[in-house]
Symmetry: C2
Subunit: 197 residues, 2 copies
């Protein structure tokens, strides 16, 4: 294998990149100014060293405490529970939510051997108790595992006298009834919102 | 921007990778064993230094002369003319062709300011004259520019008393008449092959 083939092989191991895309990317990098490759290489070399989970919420950060946890302007009585660190970025990009986050690190999935003890439920309960949280918004994915995990969180917090909510599930904006699957349509009906007259 | 966002930004500049794929890839690399990132970085650092065009045909190689040009078992009287170095890899993968290659480095595209003088036509004629080539197979893409370039190659070689052919254009294998565009169907008719009875 020459250097180009080796690079192609490495790229083709990334998610969503097949053999053809990998070749296209490798050739693109070869034809682009060398500084791009050097820069990308530097970023890869330092990535693991610079990024680690926030000691409070578990989101990706370069510091001990992430920017959200240490930002005094956030609504500090709202806590949004997500599955993965990258979910924090997705929600932040929507600019809809201005509270704090808590990353579980996954979902309860007995078939894959992931039980509650492997996820950060203990620290979640601690935080809700100690940080004067008024509402917990559960933003796990609308999948079977995500729903199970949401129910588990609800149970965990049931005696703490706080509001617990779950992100609405239903038709995506810009979507089409015709292409909605049965379960999504079912949720849209059950979660229907009455309009003020 | 933290290290993860920087890496995401770099990846999103690659062809075929949008913001979401770039995030997915960066998070994947962060969660994968660090050795993968280190290895990929090394490959990127040495890519431009190791890979350059073959001095004879123009394909990507690590040596002065590529493996195809220096392989005595190839059919050395057959020359396949392609647009880009990566086209050599694509044709090699098909295992259908066992001759030599010649990379033009692009196609004649007056609108983009690419004229014949920027492409390797001179060395093509030299090679055909000196290397005892019997047939030149033109494998430029079946686009307007590719066709124009093919015609130009044909004219260049017209007085050299060798066979000049062009790759067949028509319906892709496994394709469907219903989805074929007009031009492709037109070519399929014009290039139809009579069956022996």
């Amino acid at each position: 294998m020459n250097a180009l083939e080796e690079l192609t092989e490495s790229f083709s191991r990334l998610p969503g990149i097949g053999k053809k895309s990998a070749t296209r990317i490798a050739v693109h990098i070869l034809k682009t100014d060398e500084s791009y490759a050097q820069n990308l290489a530097q970023q890869l070399l330092t990535l693991h060293e610079r990024i680690h989970p926030c000691s409070i919420c578990g989101a990706f950060t370069e510091k001990d405490t992430c920017e959200i946890c240490s930002d005094p302007s956030r609504e500090r009585n709202l806590l949004c529970v997500v599955e993965q660190p990258q979910d924090v970025q997705t929600i932040e990009a929507s600019r809809e939510y201005h509270g704090l986050f808590h990353v579980l690190g996954g979902v309860i999935a007995p078939l894959e051997g992931i039980g509650p003890e492997q996820l950060s439920f203990c620290s979640l309960v601690e935080r809700v108790k100690n940080e004067n949280i008024q509402e917990v918004i559960i933003a796990t994915n609308p999948t079977i595992e995500g729903d199970t995990t949401a129910l588990y969180v609800k149970k965990l917090l049931s005696e703490l006298n706080i509001a617990v909510s779950r992100l609405a599930s239903g038709l995506p904006v810009g979507g089409d009834l015709e292409y909605a699957d049965k379960l999504t349509l079912q949720r849209s009906f059950r979660g229907r919102i009455f309009l003020d007259m």
